[in-house]
Symmetry: C2
Subunit: 351 residues, 2 copies
């Protein structure tokens, strides 16, 4: 996790394996998108620049290492080709949603560069997203049918979550249960499947016994799901408090697009009638035009009065605790330790 | 093929099996899109209304029947579950491209009803398209890995073709070889895979010997590819000469979006300098605003002078002859006969 996780010396060997395998993920990613058509090649080269935290491949690799509980086997021998492929597939599906999201959000900046829609137009961005999805499934069906099925199911769930979110746009009465229903589908499902498949393809003892393999994979899926929800909450917080130069993408898009985030939902439920009315007027003015620095600051101030940002942070931390607890049945070891550190970093990151 | 193919009495038994199996395709299609979320359900119900000619499922079923050369085995016993699933998958991928195309084309009418983007907005349409693709792959990975791989590959090729087409937008020097490169990817690849997989999953003797199975599937793929190109050319012709009430979708979108079709490409290459200049000015006026009935009629008239519509029709017919020739190694029989009739109907249809 470039930029969000520094490993202590005793965990460094995992960092080395991770870095090496992530290069493998990138190589597979790029190779899968190769095309004989120059315009397709140009667009794909643009997408390669989108590559950021590589959260999903990192999780697939770490879960593979942690699920393999053979004593004394070096980390580098615990994960293989399948993990690199799963990592590349999940990253590609994720990238497709970023490309499409940027079209829907009219976003100009992503990973500190111009978005595909900004540079090449909405049409190219929509089709490029479709090309990424098709390429992801192509790579996926070369692994095995269990993996193909799991990724396709997670992708469908993810889209359903986005449709649910869209349905609740500008819905100022959106409650927390519905918010979590959206987030578990939209963000957590794909992260969960990356973790699950990482464990499923573990090369070590967990894979010997089918029953145990399933249980181990389910534990990692639960870990991933909770990390995914926490990740989204932190994104919500950063959308309100972050700086575009640090976060590296267009901010306040949630507000402008009428997508209620956890801090705002909490605030609207907790505020007195008068404050609530003022916040609603503020939100409406933001969705009607572009969010200005002033209006976002005013919103952040009023959210402070109801401790709504704190509420969001505490909730994210609770999800991280749930994530760690899900790994309770997994043998302790350095890979599990890095997963726990990574989970912590998800809610403390500023990018 | 509702509306474009009437079968003579001796071929009617095939029509009966086809109609029954197409109901199976529809049921699988609808079941795959089922969701516990009401907003997702509503959007999917809208898509069900999009269902039109069901060309791809029809081809998968007919190719399955034709590839099975066991004497005396009734048509109803030559195709099974896998054909219905392949049909539903190809139709779902196709539907996804229609939903996304309508966003890109700003189209209002599809299959005589309002488009998803028109009724629910571009955002819902983009995500719904993604949901359809993910659902198609989900269904697909339940068949077998050969099928999943083939469908994913065809989808990636299809997107690459659309990107190539987009790259050549407003390119008035586009030549026929590039046009066919676009069409073979954009339209023919998915139709070819429907035919190929129909044959691949044939229940009869062709599947006994792996070598023969591959050869048979390749013959049907070649048939589908040629039919697909012819289908697109006929679409090009209808976009210029059809009536919206008959064709059932927004017309002249190719012209407005600067996509050069075969008749126009031929005309620009065949016309004298002065006519060419006049046509270019006409095309530019159309892409800058909406095509009016007058401007389209003027264009159709000028295309007549260079016999460019005739050229397109003749080319389509040549592809149909190629398609039929590809079936030369397939045992003659009523299913092959219906495939040939269907191929003819593709270029004589007015919808």
């Amino acid at each position: 996790m470039q930029g969000i996780l520094d490993l202590s010396p005793e965990l460094e060997p995992i960092g080395v394996v991770l870095a090496e395998r992530l290069l493998g993920v990138q190589a597979r990613f790029d190779r899968q998108l190769e095309s004989d058509l120059p315009p397709v090649r140009d667009l794909c080269r643009h997408v390669e620049r989108y590559r950021g935290k590589m959260l999903r491949p990192t999780l697939a690799l770490l879960c593979g290492m942690a699920a393999d509980d053979r004593a004394g086997v070096p980390m580098g021998e615990r994960v293989g080709e399948a993990h690199e492929m799963v990592g590349a597939v999940c990253e590609m599906v994720h990238m497709a949603t970023l490309v499409h999201d940027d079209v829907l959000d009219d976003a100009d900046v992503r990973r500190r560069g111009e978005t595909v829609n900004r540079l090449h137009g909405n049409e190219a961005a929509v089709i490029l997203g479709d090309y990424l999805i098709a390429s992801a499934y192509h790579l996926c069906s070369r692994i095995d049918s269990h993996t193909a099925l799991a990724v396709a199911r997670a992708s469908a769930v993810m889209c359903a979550g986005e449709l649910l979110q869209l349905h609740h746009r500008d819905d100022y009465s959106l409650d927390e249960p519905t918010y979590f229903e959206i987030v578990e589908r939209k963000t957590a499902a794909l992260i969960a499947v990356a973790c699950e498949l990482g464990a499923h393809h573990a090369l070590g003892s967990a894979t010997k016994d089918e029953q145990r393999r399933r249980e181990t994979a389910a534990a990692f899926a639960a870990f991933g799901r909770a990390v995914g929800v926490a990740f989204q909450i932190q994104d919500d917080v950063l959308d309100l408090t972050g700086e575009e130069a640090v976060v590296g993408k267009s901010l306040h898009k949630d507000l402008e697009k009428g997508k209620l985030t956890l801090p705002v939902i909490h605030h609207l439920a907790a505020a007195d009638e008068r404050t609530r009315g003022r916040t609603l007027r503020l939100l409406e003015s933001v969705t009607q035009g572009h969010a200005t620095a002033d209006s976002v600051q005013a919103l952040a101030r009023t959210l402070k009065d109801t401790r709504s940002l704190d509420h969001a942070r505490t909730t994210a931390e609770r999800y991280i605790a749930t994530a760690k607890a899900a790994l309770g049945t997994i043998a302790p070891g350095p890979a599990r330790r890095v997963l726990e550190l990574l989970a912590d970093a998800v809610v403390t990151r500023d990018q």
